[in-house]
């Protein structure tokens, strides 16, 4: 009976759900006033311009659409961006008019947009839906008109173990799924093998800030040009398939020592500096002892391969302990158990005992992670040692705010290294936590990565290349992050500062291999770069949003974030980008006019047999949907028959049973 019910319900959903609005995935959708029909706008070309200074990337994406319908239309589209990126500018060119976006408070921006739209003005709006998903709307596009939508966003270049890496997802549209709070729109999806049709031109201007050993693209043929300061990268052939992401990789000269470089931007009467320090690829120190606390999740979900791999990683870490180091091992599931009461010296006997303990770890039970971290942070700090807490888990953290607040309260001088295993992990949370704990986050999504990733982490844990870092700025400065992390192999250090008069040398001091170390970065070597102020402001935004973990009042946080976002014109959870053309352009007559508007021949498209004027018409909608309706109707009636027949049959069986 239960199964039968389930079938009925599924069939019911099948029949009824198409009657509820089903959104078609695609790119820019055009809505005409008073008309419920939507037409896909035709994407003519995509133009990508990327500027990179050090680790800061600024990307301008221009997409040209044409309104192929015969109506004045409103267009909407969703686009996901690379992780850790932020939209900064919106520029819309409709016909020969250019309108620039400005940042307004979210509700106000929406109001501005609606008003302008209803008054017939050309207008556009960019809103942040999720961390990396943005929507753009453009209103009052004339029939047959082309629209250029230009969105500028910042992204951070990735650096891992000697390689800088910049990715531009050519799928900058497609990713499937409903976005909550975005009017139920679906993000575009790209069908396999269909992307090559679109024209993409891409150009990268790269100022790496250091000598390069190599510059290459992973999937595309590129041409490079170097003028002694910047590299210019272009696609060798514009008609290359764009079904693969564009990935550019550059490798600094591996033989160099610690390399510090400062980028500078003057904005709004203030100086903004960005210090980037890149560690040498290989570094070993035998003078700075460590106190390593290894915490391992042994809850039930780790059972099987994950436990096996985690056990091996731990044994690997124990092996790498050096005489003079101290350590402890803590396991947790729903309860917490430490091998030793206090961290002990890494003697052969202790390591041997720890190895046996690790080999006997079995997975089982629930996940309560707070107490294990608490225990690790509660050990008294020991003079002359660097304490590293390595926290390995596969779990979703449910009481994130609580754990976060606890770490912020108690982390003291310990460094926190988080390792997330599998797909159920909240990476953003573990990253933020590690950042606060001045350590790193290692994500191991697939088990076959575990050896390589843990290997890299163990090398990092070896010893920081530079620790207890102090930065001496040329003046009073507001800096982010406020706690300066250590410099480890494989991870660069990026710090940004803002002040009134920051014109002068920057001095970096710290301890390296047990000895004092210092480097002066002279003012003359500062490189001008566009994204420095924005980077500072974004770091500031994040830090202000994080204040909630320290118990700050949400209203005050919102206010301070809003202030900063408006000052630096940044998109944030509380602000949106809106652009309005001041002249009304749509009149009632025009709205009724047919679409006999010629448009310029779109660049990059070939249309046989035409001169310089083209008349484009969208494909008409040519499906009345009668067959699918009839099919669903017939299915519904069939089910009713089944349902009634089933009822009678069951009753008959019951009668039979009663009689016998």
């Amino acid at each position: 009976m239960y199964n039968f019910k389930r079938i009925i319900i599924m069939a019911w959903l099948l029949i009824v759900s198409p009657m509820l609005a089903a959104d078609q995935p695609a790119q820019l959708w055009l809505h005409s006033g008073g008309d419920s029909e939507r037409h896909p706008a035709m994407l003519l070309e995509t133009d990508v311009d990327i500027e990179v200074s050090g680790m800061l990337g600024y990307t301008l994406v221009t997409q040209r659409f044409v309104n192929t319908s015969d109506q004045w239309a409103e267009g909407r589209y969703l686009f996901p961006l690379p992780d850790d990126s932020a939209v900064e500018s919106l520029r819309i060119q409709i016909g020969d008019r250019v309108i620039e976006g400005e940042i307004q408070e979210r509700g106000q921006a929406r109001e501005t947009y609606r008003t302008a739209r209803n008054q017939g003005q050309a207008t556009g709006l960019v809103e942040q839906q999720r961390a990396n998903v943005f929507t753009t709307r453009v209103a009052n596009i004339a029939p047959g008109e082309t629209v250029d939508i230009q969105i500028g966003f910042r992204q951070t270049v990735q650096y891992r173990h000697g390689r800088f890496n910049l990715v531009f997802p050519t799928t900058v549209a497609p990713r499937f799924g409903q976005v909550p709070g975005s009017d139920g729109m679906t993000t575009p999806v790209r069908e396999a093998g269909q992307a090559g049709d679109r024209a993409l031109s891409l150009r990268v201007e790269l100022r790496p800030g250091m000598e390069l050993a190599a510059l290459q693209s992973s999937h595309h043929l590129i041409e490079t040009d170097y003028n002694g300061e910047r590299w210019l990268v272009t696609m060798a052939d514009e008609h290359q398939p764009i079904s693969r992401d564009f990935e550019l990789e550059w490798i600094p000269d591996p033989s160099r020592p610690i390399h510090g470089v400062v980028f500078q931007q003057h904005l709004g009467g203030l100086d903004h500096l960005l210090l980037m320090m890149v560690p040498p690829e290989e570094f070993t120190s035998d003078r700075t002892p460590r106190e390593q606390i290894l915490i391992i999740d042994t809850s039930g979900s780790m059972r099987g391969d994950p436990m096996d791999q985690a056990r091996r990683s731990l044994l690997f870490a124990l092996e790498k302990l050096r005489p003079g180091d101290r350590f402890n091992v803590i396991e947790f599931n729903h309860r917490t158990q430490a091998l030793f009461d206090q961290p002990v010296a890494a003697t052969n006997a202790n390591i041997h005992r720890a190895s046996r303990f690790v080999e006997n770890l079995r997975a089982g039970g629930g996940t309560v992670m707070g107490p294990s971290l608490n225990k690790a942070m509660s050990y008294a700090e020991r003079e002359g040692f660097i304490r590293q807490i390595v926290f390995i888990t596969d779990g979703l953290i449910h009481n994130e705010d609580e754990v976060s607040a606890q770490v912020r309260r108690e982390i003291g001088n310990s460094r926190l290294f988080n390792v997330g295993i599998g797909h159920g992990v909240n990476s953003q949370f573990l990253t933020d936590l590690a950042r606060y704990g001045r350590g790193t986050y290692t994500r191991i999504a697939d088990l076959d990565q575990i050896n390589q990733r843990m290997g890299e982490l163990i090398v990092q844990l070896g010893t920081p290349v530079l620790h207890d870092i102090e930065l001496h700025w040329p003046g009073e400065a507001e800096i982010y992050p406020s706690r300066i992390p250590d410099l480890y192999t494989g991870e660069p250090l990026v710090v940004s500062a803002r002040g009134e008069q920051l014109m002068g040398d920057v001095l970096v001091t710290g301890l390296s291999d047990g000895r004092p170390w210092q480097q002066k970065i002279p003012m003359e070597s500062f490189q001008l770069a566009g994204g420095v102020a924005a980077h500072w402001a974004r770091a500031g935004l994040r830090s202000r949003l994080d204040e909630r973990f320290n118990g700050a009042d949400p209203g005050l946080i919102r206010e301070s974030v809003l202030d900063l976002a408006l000052e630096y014109q940044l998109l944030s959870p509380f602000t949106s980008l809106v652009a309005v053309d001041q002249t009304p352009r749509r009149t009632r007559q025009a709205a009724l006019r047919r679409h006999d508007l010629p448009t310029d021949l779109p660049h990059g498209r070939e249309l046989a047999g035409v001169g310089d004027r083209v008349m484009m018409r969208a494909m008409p909608a040519t499906d009345a949907g009668s067959e699918s309706s009839l099919l669903r109707g017939a299915l519904a009636l069939l089910l009713i028959g089944l349902l009634l027949g089933h009822k009678r049959m069951t009753r008959d069986v019951e009668h039979e049973e009663e009689r016998s």
């Binding site: 009657m19 029909e37 035409v610 494909m619 040519t622 949907g625 099919l631 519904a636």
Partner: protein, 194 residues
């Protein structure tokens, strides 16, 4: 309780869907019958004959495939309300004609029409043109538009694709390109678009 709710909603939904689907088919059939009179009444002097009071459009031509026994009266304009009653035509400034119709009604027969087949277009003024299918292709409507600026020596037929799709509103279209059967047209009989 849940069962009766299910039954009622199934019944209502089912009947509604069948009604919707049936209505489309009935409109498509009725439209063609009702248009006959208007088409017969139209001639070169009075090309526009309103088929019934409040009609959205009027017939402009008849599409004829004698081998298949297909006759379709073509209306002016290729937007959705018009297409319910018959195939719709749009014309470019240089004489290019586009005829579109629904895949589940008037253009169902296109499923089997192959390059090389011929068909004729009879205009309201009585003139007849003979066309041959030159090309048959399936395109994605999200990346392809129709160029209305083409010359008079091309006729384009469009319908949805595939014919067997069980959901409506898909992005694919079947496009047939036709050229004059006996070389280029010598005279343009076609009526100018108002």
């Amino acid at each position: 309780m849940i069962r009766s709710l299910l039954l009622v909603s199934l019944l209502a939904g089912g009947l509604w869907q069948i009604g919707q689907g049936g209505l489309v088919q009935v409109k498509a059939l009725m439209g063609q019958l009702l248009l006959e009179r208007a088409f017969a009444a139209a001639d070169a002097d009075e090309p526009v004959q309103i088929p019934w009071p409040g009609a959205l459009s009027h017939p402009v031509a008849r599409l004829h495939l004698p081998d298949r026994g297909i006759r379709r009266l073509v209306l002016d304009g290729a937007n959705s309300p018009v297409l319910a009653w018959g195939p719709g035509m749009e014309s470019g400034p240089n004489g290019h004609h586009l005829i579109a119709a629904h895949r589940d009604t008037h253009f169902r027969f296109l499923e089997h029409v192959e390059p090389g087949e011929t068909m004729s277009v009879e205009w309201v003024d009585g003139s007849v043109e003979h066309w041959r299918v030159a090309e048959r292709e399936v395109v994605d409507s999200r990346t392809t538009a129709i160029d209305m600026g083409l010359e008079a020596d091309q006729l384009t037929l469009v319908t949805c694709y595939p014919f067997t799709a069980t959901t409506s509103g898909g992005p694919l279209r079947l496009v047939l390109t036709l050229t004059p059967e006996n070389g280029p047209l010598t005279t343009d009989h076609r009526l100018p678009k108002k």
